[in-house]
């Protein structure tokens, strides 16, 4: 066996703290190594050429590259090796950057560690067997989770590209957060006017199958072949009959239901349609507020419905859809006002959140666009906006910036001046973050043209005094305390992940950060992919994001799906578990331990029961391998023998 070892300098990344020449020298002494060399950038085109030439010249049959993490370039080098006719699994990578040169400063220790890492890789490479991927057909349908602007954009782009789209939306209407906004920055154009046509397109597109008021129950399968169970929540209204006429809402005697769409700015009826432009425009009953459900008698809506659509006996329904890829666009949440007790959020009615103020500004909102404060419906003359209400606040566990508050505060202050010309707005800010196109000009316009008073400092406390709210803050540029007697206080509450973000991530097998935002495959170069192939991200579920960025990411995710669907078959990864039928005793331990349900019982012709791995379902995690009491089930490319060869190299020599 002839192993070739190629040690990368990675500029100074590795060569700065590892003596690469010495490492190469040591590698040449290792049993089985026929050739070892160093190169400035092995991943570059000439670097890869050097590997190819060396394979031919030195008649190498195994290749080890000691460089960065295999997550970075394993695929690159496997392709290089394959081009010379070797099996790509004859390639092995030693990570001497992330695991070595980047984490230690002692050159001697690093050099020794690099030598050991290569020793391991060489022994492993010598044990490697050729593996061949299988091919399987792709189901060219896509699931989009979330019908906000990012999800709708992704769904429309996929559908226009000829794919069948299953769009699942948790709430009764598509539109998401954007449907709640009055105007959008920095152009101040009407939000629903630009979103409405997209919503209509989604509902009318023949390729899009919309499940509104539905949630993801279960996800099984793998890229190309997912089986999705969708829970259609009971609306207690037969949507095939409902015409959205609103007669039921008008007559509903339960008038104190929580209005989820308006974030509780005004009460709703127990049977409701969230907003006039809702799609689908169908009524649903909130059972926890409905008299029929609480007291067992009422039935007013059923009596007045002209088409007989009301059905109090309706139950949740589970439907199954098969798709080949998933785009997650599940959106974001906002922290509750009562997480900010020093601001009186939740205690004083005239301290509201930015999204609530947005509903008050909105012409189709509960106040028909007339600005009035919640306590006495008076028109406020002095309005205070507090930015970073919860954001950039380590003490409540939100160290990040919520991205778009600076901009929407400027917009709301401008709109306030438009609505009430004799009003005065103040903005407490720590920094004005307006890096987008036309954004900084917009915040300047709020100050220069609309006379909004910007105060550089945070607010310590808000408390009532008569009919006013006293806002006690600092002006750090003046170097003193300031107090404002406000009629209304608007808090730019921090953006969070949705409450069920983590549960959904676990169903999807994708990772999330400590705050519940989904983690992309690479923060710069793979911003819409996840580490689970076939699952893509769009919008604020990945991190706080404004509308243009969400739309851009929605389109990007659609492009990714279209690109994997441009082929008819996909190659499966051969690094999966395989059962040695001669050794397996049929104890079934692996079946119970497999998190993916990838192992089934199989009866041989002699009647013996053994385990069988369903190739397309196995994710190659290796749990079965370590569970099997007799070593019958082995994870290919990570077999017991291969791992023991590494351990022996490290411990015995």
């Amino acid at each position: 066996m002839r192993v070739g070892v190629f040690i990368c300098h990675c500029g100074n990344n590795i060569a700065g703290t590892v003596e690469v020449a010495k490492v190469a020298e040591a590698a040449r002494m290792m049993p089985g190594v026929a050739f070892a060399t160093t190169y400035m950038y092995t991943c570059s085109e000439p670097g890869q050429e050097e590997i190819k030439e060396a394979i031919k010249r030195e008649k190498l049959d195994r290749v080890v590259v000691a460089a960065c993490s295999p997550r970075m370039h394993e695929v690159t080098f496997r392709r290089t090796v394959e081009k010379t006719g070797l099996n790509r699994y004859f390639f092995e990578m030693a990570n001497i950057r992330e695991h070595c040169s980047w984490i230690g400063e002692d050159k001697e220790l690093n050099t020794n560690k690099a030598i050991e890492a290569i020793k391991l890789a060489v022994e492993k490479a010598k044990q490697n067997k050729p593996l061949f991927p299988a091919k399987f057909k792709i189901n060219k349908r896509v699931l989009v989770i979330g019908g906000g602007v990012a999800g709708m954009q992704a769904a429309l782009d996929c559908a226009d590209g000829g794919l069948d789209v299953v769009l699942v939306e948790k709430s009764p209407s598509v539109g998401g957060m954007m449907a709640r906004l009055d105007k959008t920055f920095p152009t101040v154009d009407c939000s629903i006017c630009i979103l409405g046509p997209k919503m209509v397109d989604v509902s009318q597109h023949e390729k899009i199958n919309l499940y509104a008021y539905s949630e993801i129950e279960e996800i099984k399968g793998y890229v190309g072949n997912y089986q999705i169970k969708i829970r259609k929540k009971a609306t207690y209204v037969d949507w095939s009959k409902c015409t959205g006429c609103g007669a039921c809402i008008e007559k509903c005697p339960s008038r104190n239901a929580f209005d989820y769409f308006n974030f509780g700015v005004a009460p709703a009826r127990a049977i409701n349609i969230p907003f006039p432009q809702a799609i689908p425009k169908k009524a649903k009953i909130d059972a926890q507020f409905c008299r029929q459900f609480i007291k067992g008698k009422c039935g007013v809506c059923a009596k007045f419905c002209p088409v007989g659509a009301i059905n109090y006996e309706m139950k949740d329904e589970i439907v199954t859809e098969d798709v080949g890829a998933i785009i997650v666009a599940s959106g974001y949440g906002l922290i509750d006002l009562d997480k900010l007790p020093e601001y009186g959020g939740g205690r004083y009615p005239d301290v509201i959140s930015g999204i609530q103020y947005e509903r008050i500004l909105n012409a189709s909102g509960p106040t028909s666009g007339h600005i009035e404060r919640p306590s006495d419906h008076a028109e406020p003359k002095t309005i205070v906006f507090v930015s970073c209400a919860g954001s950039r606040d380590k003490s409540i566990g939100i160290p990040y910036c919520s991205n778009f508050c600076c901009m929407y505060i400027a917009k709301q202050a401008i709109l306030t001046k438009d609505h009430i010309p004799d009003s005065r707005s103040y903005v407490f800010y720590m920094d004005i973050r307006s890096p987008g196109k036309g954004y900084d000009e917009f915040t300047r316009r709020a100050q220069e043209e609309y006379g909004v008073q910007y105060i550089r400092g945070r607010v310590s406390r808000i408390y009532p005094k008569g009919k006013k709210m006293i806002v006690k803050g600092a002006d750090t540029l003046l170097g003193t305390q300031v107090e404002i007697e406000a009629d209304l206080v608007v808090l730019a509450t921090a953006v969070t992940a949705t409450t069920d973000a983590r549960t959904l991530a676990e169903k999807l097998h994708i990772s999330y950060d400590p705050h519940g935002f989904y983690v992309e495959s690479h923060p710069k170069l793979r911003p819409v992919e996840t580490n689970t192939s076939g699952v893509f991200l769009a919008g604020a579920c990945q991190g706080p994001k404004d509308i243009p960025a969400s739309v851009g990411q929605g389109s990007a995710a659609a492009a990714k799906v279209l690109s994997i669907f441009s082929k008819d078959t996909l190659e499966s990864d051969p690094q999966i578990a395989r059962v040695n039928t001669n050794i397996c005793v049929g104890c079934r331990k692996c079946i119970g331990t497999c998190p993916f349900g990838a192992i089934e019982e199989q009866q041989l012709r002699d009647g013996r029961i053994i385990a069988n791995v369903i190739e397309t379902v196995c994710a190659g995690c290796g749990i079965c391998n370590s569970t099997c009491p007799c070593g019958a089930i082995q994870l290919q490319h990570f077999t017991d023998n291969q791992l023991l060869a590494e351990v022996n190299a490290l411990c015995l020599t």
Binding site: C388, D393, S395, I396, M430, G457, R458, A474, T476, G479
Partner: protein, 188 residues
């Protein structure tokens, strides 16, 4: 304010010293001003708390130790409670006061006198003897009749007494003081 030459006038040793004694890191402060916003004493301060923190970040030892703010701070801890960066600012103010006293920067003599009077009462009686403190403070500070009008009122309510209350373990409290003095001597 005079321009500050940060190359020459940043006292890095002072920054390290305060960091070490307070176990707080000034680099965590992003100058949002929330400490100043809530501070009930800002109107008496020469430098609001957020500026004391800034002076600390820039190592302006003389300015901080000569400031009145560090002596007037009541340690109510509103700043510590409100700080989004979880810095114990009140404790930093404490440490600054201790360093100022140790290095003989005392911009508010009365406050120091009051502390001395309070501590000597603790040392002798094992607990606070209010009348003793008042007398000690009034004599040493020269404000002979300060708060004298309040005396009869609270005497009548039985809140203070002319004779000190002696508590059990008085000697043990005195021992704490003795040990502290000894430790300080050894350190010097």
């Amino acid at each position: 304010m005079e321009p500050i030459n940060l190359t020459e006038k940043t006292d890095w040793q002072f920054i390290d010293q305060v960091k070490k004694e307070s176990l707080q890191d000034p680099a965590l402060c992003y100058q949002c001003g929330n400490c100043t916003a809530g501070c009930p004493y800002t109107k008496y301060f020469d430098y609001p708390v957020s500026q004391v923190m800034r002076l600390f970040q820039t190592g302006q030892k003389e300015t901080i130790l000569n400031s009145r703010s560090i002596w007037l701070c009541a340690t109510c801890e509103t700043c510590t409670t409100r700080c989004p960066c979880e810095i114990d600012i009140a404790h930093i103010m404490d440490v600054l006061r201790i360093i100022a006293r140790r290095e003989n920067y005392v911009s508010e003599k009365d406050v120091k006198t009051f502390y001395d009077s309070f501590l000597s009462s603790m040392k002798h009686h094992g607990r606070v003897f209010e009348v003793g403190i008042l007398m000690g403070y009034n004599f040493k500070s020269g404000h002979l009749l300060a708060d004298a009008d309040l005396g009869p009122k609270i005497l009548g309510k039985g809140k203070i007494h002319f004779l000190p209350t002696r508590i059990k373990g008085r000697d043990k409290v005195a021992e704490i003081f003795r040990k502290f003095q000894e430790m300080r001597k050894n350190r010097v």
